[in-house]
C-alpha cells in the first residue's frame, strides 16, 4: 500500500465538497470501526459466557476432582464427573496426529516450494487446497466406513472405532494446514541465501535443509501449532470414528475427546450434567487460547528475525 502524500488531490477542490468529503471520510471511519468491534464483541461475549456457565459445575464438583477424576459417569445414580480421560485423549490424539502429519506435511512443503517442477507443484497444490475444503463430516463418514473396518481386521479387534482411527483421520485433516503454511514460510526465504549456499558448493538438498528450512523455522513451527489447534478442536470427524466411550486413552480402545464429550451428551443433558459439559467446553477453550498464544509468539519471533 502506497500512501497518497498529503495535499495531493486536494488542489482545486471547492471548500464545500471538501467538507462533505471530510464528513464522508469520518463516517466511513466510524463504520469500519463498528465492523471491527463486532468481532471483538463476539469473542468477548463467548469468553464471558463460557466462563460464567462453566464455573458453577467446577465449583460443585471441585476443580481437582473435575480435572483429575478418571471416571465420567454423568447419568449414574451417583454421577461422577472426571474429565481426565477426555483431556488425555485430546492430548494424545492431537500429538499422534502431529507425529504422523508433520513429517509428511513438512516434506511436501519443501518439495512444493523448492524441488517440484511448476506443473507438478500446481497439481499437488490444488489437491492440498481441495483437501482443506472437504467438510469434516466427510472425513468422518469415510473413516467410519473404510478406516474403522480396516483397523478392526488389521489388528483383529472386535470394534475398529479406536484412538488410532481418530489419529489417522486427524493427521489427514491437519495436512493441508501444515503444508500451505510451511510452504509460504519456505517461499519467503530470500533467494540470495540459497544462491549463496549453492555458490559455495552445497548440493540442492543440503541447501534446502541446511539453509532454507532453518531460515523458515518460525513459520514452520507456526504451521505445526496451527495443526495442533485444528486437531484439538475437531469434533465431528472424531465423533464418528473414535467410538466415544469414556475410557482412559489407549491406542486400540474406544475413546472420547474433549470436543466429543460435549457434543455427544448435549442433546439430552440436564442439571449438573449440562453445566459440566459447559465446564468441559471452558477447558477446551483454555487449551485453544493457549495454543493461539503460542502461535502469536512464534509469528512475532518470525517477523523479528
Amino acid at each position: 500500500m502506497k500512501r497518497i502524500p498529503k495535499g495531493e488531490g486536494q488542489t482545486g477542490i471547492a471548500p464545500k465538497t471538501k467538507s462533505i468529503r471530510a464528513a464522508f471520510e469520518k463516517g466511513m471511519n466510524v463504520l469500519f470501526f463498528l465492523c471491527g468491534a463486532v468481532a471483538v464483541l463476539f469473542v468477548l461475549f463467548i469468553s464471558v459466557y463460557l466462563i460464567v456457565s462453566g464455573i458453577p459445575a467446577i465449583r460443585e464438583i471441585g476443580l481437582a476432582d473435575f480435572l483429575f477424576g478418571q471416571v465420567w459417569k454423568s447419568t449414574a445414580k451417583e454421577p461422577q464427573f472426571g474429565i481426565l480421560p477426555f483431556i488425555l485423549t485430546s492430548v494424545y490424539g492431537t500429538a499422534g496426529a502431529i507425529v504422523v502429519g508433520v513429517p509428511i506435511g513438512f516434506l511436501t512443503a519443501v518439495y512444493l516450494s523448492k524441488a517440484a517442477s511448476p506443473k507438478i507443484a500446481a497439481v499437488i497444490r490444488t489437491a492440498v487446497e481441495l483437501l482443506s475444503g472437504i467438510p469434516s463430516v466427510v472425513y468422518g463418514l469415510i473413516g467410519m466406513t473404510i478406516l474403522v473396518p480396516a483397523i478392526r481386521t488389521a489388528f483383529g479387534l472386535s470394534s475398529g472405532a479406536t484412538l488410532l482411527a481418530a489419529i489417522v483421520v486427524l493427521a489427514i485433516m491437519v495436512l493441508p494446514y501444515i503444508i500451505s503454511v510451511s510452504e509460504t514460510a519456505l517461499c519467503a526465504v530470500p533467494k540470495e541465501y540459497e544462491e549463496g549456499s549453492l555458490a559455495l558448493g552445497a548440493t540442492e538438498m543440503e541447501t534446502y535443509f541446511r539453509v532454507s528450512v532453518p531460515a523458515a523455522s518460525s513459520g514452520i513451527a507456526a504451521a505445526v501449532v496451527l495443526g495442533v489447534g485444528r486437531a484439538i478442536g475437531e469434533a465431528m470427524a472424531v465423533m464418528m470414528v473414535a467410538g466415544n466411550v469414556a475410557n482412559m486413552p489407549s491406542l486400540l480402545e474406544s475413546v472420547r475427546f474433549l470436543t466429543t464429550a460435549v457434543a455427544s451428551e448435549m442433546s439430552y443433558s440436564a442439571g449438573l450434567q449440562r453445566q459440566a459439559l459447559f465446564s468441559i467446553a471452558l477447558v477446551l477453550f483454555l487449551f485453544i487460547m493457549m495454543i493461539n498464544a503460542v502461535l502469536a509468539i512464534l509469528l512475532k519471533k518470525g517477523k523479528k528475525s
Partner: protein, 307 residues
C-alpha cells in the same frame, strides 16, 4: 490444466453431495430437541389465537407428571391435542416414573405417567393403570452372525462384559463388540433398566443416534446393539429373545411386543385415581391418548400403540 481444474471442481461438487447426506443424518439427532422447543412455543401461541374451526369448546388444565422416557410421546400428544381442544392446557413435568405415580396417588396431578407397570402396592394405593403404548427394544447383531437367539440373562452378561466372545453363547469364535447409545438417551435408559445393567454396561462404542448404532452393527461382524423396534430394518438381524432358559424364543415384532411375549419391552402407563373421576378436560385428554388418531403419534415417537 483448465480441464484438470474443472475435473477437480466436479469432484468437489460430488463430495459436497455426500456431505449433504451425512449432514442431515447427524442433524436429525438434534432436531428432536429443537422441534420440541418449537412445539411448546407454538402451543402457547395457539392457545391465544385459535377459536372456531374444528375445535371443541372445552377449557381447563390437565396436569401430567412422571416418566422422562415418555417426553417424546407426551410432546406429540399435547401438540395434536391442542389443535382439537385449543382452550385446554396440558402441562407435563418430566420427573420420573416413581414421582409421577406418587403425585397421582396424592392427587396433585391429574394423570401420572409411568414407563413401567405399576406395582401391586401402587395399585392398592388407589390407582388404575391404563397402558397407552409399548416400547419394544430390538437386540440386533450383524447379518453374518450365526447366533439367532439369546436369553435376557445372556444379554445382560454381554452388556456388562461378562461374556466377551460369541463362542460362549453358541456362536463363532469372535469377540463381542457391544454398541449402544450415549448417556441420557431414552433407548439406553430403557435397555439398561430392562436388563438391570444401569451404570454397569461396558460399551465398545457409544453413538449418538439409532441410525449410527444400526450402521455400526451392520459393518462390524462381532457387534451387538440395541435399537428401538420402530427403527429396525433389514441391514441388521434382530435376535429372538428368551425371557429365561425355559421359555420360547420370541421374535421382536409389534405383535409380540403388544401381547407381552417379547421380553425386552416396557409399557407406557397413564396412572389415574380409581375412586375419583377425572376432570372433564383430563378425561378428554385421556380419551384422546387412547383414540385412533393418537396411534399415529405413538408410531412417530417410535413406540407401539396399545390400541
Amino acid at each position: 490444466m483448465k480441464k484438470s481444474v474443472s475435473l477437480l471442481l466436479a469432484a468437489v461438487l460430488c463430495t459436497g453431495l455426500f456431505a449433504g447426506c451425512a449432514g442431515t443424518e447427524t442433524a436429525s439427532s438434534t432436531a428432536g430437541a429443537s422441534s420440541q422447543e418449537a412445539a411448546s412455543q407454538t402451543e402457547e401461541s395457539r392457545a391465544e389465537a385459535s377459536e372456531g374451526g374444528e375445535t371443541v369448546d372445552l377449557s381447563g388444565t390437565v396436569s401430567t407428571n412422571g416418566s422422562t422416557s415418555m417426553e417424546e410421546v407426551m410432546m406429540g400428544l399435547t401438540e395434536y391435542f391442542k389443535e382439537k381442544y385449543p382452550n385446554i392446557t396440558v402441562t407435563y413435568d418430566p420427573t420420573g416414573s416413581g414421582t409421577g405415580i406418587q403425585q397421582a396417588t396424592a392427587g396433585s396431578c391429574d394423570i401420572g405417567l409411568s414407563s413401567r407397570a405399576l406395582k401391586q402396592e401402587e395399585l392398592d394405593g388407589g390407582l388404575t393403570e391404563t397402558v397407552v403404548a409399548k416400547d419394544g427394544i430390538a437386540i440386533v447383531v450383524n447379518k453374518e452372525n450365526t447366533v439367532a437367539e439369546l436369553t435376557v440373562e445372556q444379554i445382560t452378561k454381554i452388556a456388562t462384559g461378562e461374556i466377551a466372545n460369541w463362542s460362549e453363547v453358541g456362536g463363532p469364535d469372535m469377540e463381542i463388540a457391544f454398541i449402544g447409545r450415549e448417556a441420557g438417551s431414552g433407548t439406553r435408559g430403557a435397555f439398561e433398566e430392562l436388563t438391570g445393567t444401569e451404570d454397569a454396561c461396558s460399551y465398545a462404542q457409544e453413538l449418538t443416534s439409532t441410525g449410527a448404532v444400526r450402521t455400526a452393527v451392520s459393518t462390524t461382524p462381532g457387534a451387538i446393539g440395541y435399537i428401538s423396534l420402530s427403527s429396525l430394518d433389514d441391514s441388521v438381524t434382530a435376535l429372538k429373545v428368551k425371557a429365561d432358559d425355559a421359555s420360547p424364543a420370541v421374535e421382536c415384532t409389534e405383535e409380540t411386543v403388544l401381547d407381552g411375549s417379547y421380553a425386552i419391552q416396557r409399557p407406557f402407563v397413564f396412572a389415574t385415581k380409581s375412586d375419583a373421576a377425572l376432570s372433564e378436560a383430563a378425561q378428554a385428554f385421556y380419551d384422546f391418548a387412547l383414540s385412533e388418531e393418537a396411534a399415529e403419534i405413538y408410531t412417530e415417537a417410535g413406540v407401539v400403540p396399545a390400541n
